[in-house]
């Protein structure tokens, strides 16, 4: 068991050493995942609100598909994005395969259904409470959706965190479309996989510790914001 303790000690020493290679990997991970969450939040919340408030043929089927899409295997998404972005693929002209942009695309496809499905549930619950009142005030469906997104904003932050957690923890898709190129597309999860296979456990563990710390910090901040908002806004 001493090798675990040694590795952990090495990991903390590495994390505290200010190793530029390590922090570049952490920075790229955050950059890619936050960009993906920003895009997926915009698209996912709009889809969620539209499905929650709208009444259209096939709505139930859309809900089932959205819920099912939350469990899409990342490697399958990676493969599809790879085929789309490869030189012979329909979007090959973009030339973004094996770049962080391709990783953002893959993560957006991965987490948009999660954000859409969970935000649909949050907004629909609020719609049940608000519907008669908003209709009584003559609020249009589009304006109602806007109001509901704003009024459920603190719950939606939790939804976005779920998306961010999924994006940051994901390895299969970004490995396929990013290629895990050192200094270009290497992120925490792909680096952990690589360093573990090489036997460099301190670096793998250091990255793991930082990954956990980042996720814990973001969730802690979101929890504090939510608690504050509940006290202030009810």
């Amino acid at each position: 068991m001493s090798w675990i303790a040694d590795s952990l000690a090495g990991a903390f020493a590495l994390a505290a050493s200010g190793d530029l290679r390590l922090y570049a990997i952490v920075a790229l991970s955050l950059e890619v995942s936050l960009a993906a969450v920003a895009i997926a939040a915009l698209v996912g919340c709009l889809i969620g609100a539209a499905v929650a408030v709208g009444r259209f043929p096939g709505r139930r089927l859309v809900i089932v598909v959205l819920n099912a899409a939350m469990g899409l295997p990342p490697v399958v998404i990676g493969l599809v994005v790879y085929l789309l972005l490869s030189r012979a693929g329909p979007l090959g002209a973009l030339g973004i395969l094996f770049t962080p942009a391709a990783m953002v695309v893959a993560q957006v496809l991965l987490i948009t259904p999660i954000i859409a499905a969970l935000s649909r549930q949050v907004i629909e619950d609020a719609w049940r409470e608000y519907e008669e009142q908003l209709r009584s005030l003559g609020v249009s469906t589009v304006a109602a959706a806007r109001t509901l997104i704003w009024d459920t904003r603190y719950s939606l932050v939790t939804v976005l965190l779920a998306g961010l957690g999924r994006a940051m923890a994901e390895v299969g898709a970004v490995m396929i479309v990013g290629g895990n190129i050192d200094g270009v597309t290497r992120v925490m999860t792909t680096a952990i996989a690589l360093e573990t296979s090489k036997g460099d456990l301190p670096l793998a563990l250091a990255l793991g510790v930082i990954l956990l710390a980042v996720v814990l910090s973001l969730n802690g901040i979101a929890y504090a914001v939510r608690e504050w908002s509940v006290r202030r806004h009810g």
């Binding site: 009584s136 005030l137 003559g138 609020v139 704003w150 202030r232 806004h233 009810g234």
Partner: protein, 241 residues
């Protein structure tokens, strides 16, 4: 929109709301005068359903609602529900939101909307809470904000669905005072309530619903002193809850 005698508020023609083998309204026909009206009846009589049909929130299975025109236009109708729904924003912003959503108030500037909201809150005695979040107020205060939001819309008709249900006596008195003021300002008020004291003090006309039908329509004095229908008699005796 038919032009009729000015004392007439609304005509209900054969309203039916049916579904899953049950008729919430079973042929409700009446002409309601422009007076303070209380709709009474036991649980499940169809009171709240009738109010929603009158407001257009619920489409009847059959029948129609014909409101009497006000100054040649359709009357502006506002509604306050049993459980007030306030948005996660300040009390003042809740009232402003109502004005911003109202087609009849599209021409108002943001400053005018805010001024009207403050005036409405003053009328219900809540101006001092204007900057507080609406959802952290007590139930009675939230209901008064809902009344202010409805009143700010300058409605011709105000529909109230059990506005004092689940409130303590103090809050009930405050709500009742506001409702009296709204009615005194010229707004036609239709009140659904289980609170017989409130109905007796507030209403001029009573519509008594039983099993989805109007069992009786009378002045408030006649209804409480000399109920004609067996159902109303049983209701007033406490045998019909």
């Amino acid at each position: 929109m038919a032009e009729r005698a000015p004392e007439e508020l609304v005509r209900l023609d054969g309203l039916v709301v049916a579904g899953r083998g049950h008729r919430a309204l079973d042929g409700v026909s009446a002409t309601l005068p422009r007076r303070r009206i209380a709709i009474l009846g036991p649980n499940g009589a169809g009171k709240s359903v009738l109010l929603r049909v009158m407001h257009g929130l619920l489409a009847p299975t059959a029948g129609r609602v014909a409101w009497h025109a006000v100054a040649g236009r359709a009357p502006r109708i506002a509604m306050v529900f049993q459980r007030p729904v306030l948005l996660r924003r300040s009390v003042e912003d809740n009232v402003v939101y109502g004005l911003a959503s109202s087609a009849a108030h599209r021409g108002l500037s943001a400053a005018q909307r805010r001024a009207r909201a403050v005036a409405a809150l003053e009328r219900v005695g809540l101006a001092h809470l204007a900057s507080r979040s609406g959802r952290v107020l007590s139930g009675g205060e939230q209901q008064r904000v809902a009344l202010a939001r409805a009143w700010a819309l300058e409605p011709d008709v105000l529909l109230l669905d059990e506005p004092t249900a689940s409130l303590d006596p103090g809050a009930t008195r405050a709500i009742e005072a506001v409702i009296h003021e709204i009615a005194a300002s010229g707004v036609a008020v239709v009140l659904v309530t289980h609170h017989r004291g409130l109905a007796r003090r507030f209403a001029e006309q009573v519509v008594f619903l039983h099993e989805g039908r109007i069992a009786e329509q009378a002045t408030v004095t006649d209804f409480f002193a000399r109920p004609r229908s067996a159902a109303a008699h049983a209701y007033l005796e406490g045998d019909l809850a």
